[in-house]
Symmetry: C3
Subunit: 206 residues, 3 copies
């Protein structure tokens, strides 16, 4: 059991809590619905990446610990529901860390498939955001990546930064952590100062 494995298992559970809380925001799904949505949020991004890469077996299919982590996460989300809702701000920090981690580990995995670094960066971003996209599609919402401030863009920037570092610096831990920190900072700064990417069409063109 490497550190990375433990972090991945916990990260998956964390994503499931995040998905479950998001699911209860607008509707009042039953236990099955919440578990299903938490599950899709947690494993969706990595699954999309691995299916696009043709990288089988998928991690959660091969290793049941991911599922145990998700089930534990849903139970925790239920028991500590009020507390978690109150701790949204703290929770948000963890969520951002989780997204940063999924992006960089996903990019690294994709690079192992001998593909162009730009494609690997896109795969890394997909690892982090596609779970949320699937969740939003299933619950009939406009995906959050089209609305949230520089959400997926931060992931893509971090993934590209990691790829750049990877060329020059042979220290995996430093590369991973500094790229994660970059994603974290971009996201936090964007939220704090309410930054967003420019619109594709200028106002007067509308």
């Amino acid at each position: 059991m490497t550190t990375q494995y433990i972090v991945e298992i916990f990260g998956t559970g964390f994503f499931a809590i995040s998905g479950a809380l998001a699911a209860t925001d607008k509707s009042k799904p039953d236990w099955f619905g919440v578990t299903f949505i938490g599950f899709i949020t947690a494993i969706g991004g990595g699954s999309v990446r691995d299916i696009l890469l043709g990288s089988y077996p998928l991690a959660w299919v091969r290793d049941v610990n991911f599922m145990y982590s998700i089930i534990a996460a849903i139970i925790i989300a239920s028991v500590f529901f009020k507390t978690l809702i109150k701790l949204r701000r703290t929770f948000f920090l963890f969520d951002t860390l989780g997204i940063a981690m999924f992006t960089i580990l996903g990019t690294e995995k994709a690079l192992g498939h001998q593909i162009h670094p730009l494609i690997a960066a896109i795969m890394g971003m997909f690892s982090a955001v596609m779970g949320g996209v699937l969740r939003d599609v299933l619950t009939n919402e406009i995906p959050v990546i089209f609305k949230k401030e520089v959400y997926a863009t931060a992931c893509l920037a971090g993934a590209l930064f990691y790829i750049g570092l990877d060329v020059f610096l042979n220290n995996r831990t430093v590369n991973i952590l500094s790229s994660m920190i970059l994603i974290f900072i971009i996201r936090i700064v964007a939220i704090k100062y309410n930054l967003s990417l420019p619109k594709f069409r200028k106002e007067e063109e509308v």
Copy 2:
């Protein structure tokens, strides 16, 4: 041509009729739209399971008889449209049987891929419900599994029951049939007594 093969071909056609009728419930799609939705409903669940397992080739890609069954089903749905709508209650029984069958055969297939039984049960449930989920996503509806009474839950319970039986009892036919009957009974009882799973959030928390 085994019994199972014949049952699978007919079951696929049955799912296509079910999908086509659901598609005409709210909108008035043209022939192409109805066929497309019937097709997705019929092959969607098995395709999602096989893509997640990396189990190629997909049954309907390899064997054109599944497609013939779907085409025949759409024609039948058109010719006997009024009758089928009137027979909704009878139809519902067949639909429930079909879901039960897809779940158990899907679970069995997944078990053959040397994966953890819990994951195999989830794959079995996916086989039965993911066609409907894709149909609902394509027609911009909230997927029925988030609304319908213990729909997917019954499938999951039956799949887990089958896996338990499989450990102790070496009679495939008995195991399959009794698990299918369990799904059937849970679903019928839930509908009759209007049962549903508890909400994830208690009312006072809203």
Copy 3:
């Protein structure tokens, strides 16, 4: 670099422009959103086909030139936005040509996987329409294939025609071009005379 490769790279960029323009029709997404939607529109159809066939690696994952073409396309769409919107009619002709090409090349590719010609024709149609379907699902719209006049049907007809030709005629270029022309003509005639497929249910049944 064969002619076909160049045409495919340009066709992909063209699909990305088409997707980007469609994305800006109803909402005002930012740069990331437009690029993401253009990308999904461009590579979605071929990716769905290849994932269903189990045909790895996907073209855009293996060959970064598809991504460069998409990025260039989004920049062109931004710089010449007003012009492109004005040229909608001309643009529509190119779009129809692109769909025709994706259909026939997709059908040909699927035939190479030793599958039944009917399934290959469906795969060809998927290559052309699934990118748009994914785009519409992501932006929470009813997919255009359920609304637009004989859109996917034209693709399917052309794919079946190509398969028929392929049996009798050994001239690949003639087969491809004449099938593309058939799709083009069906689509243009349907638009001009406002043709549509018959509804599945007759009016008096509603």
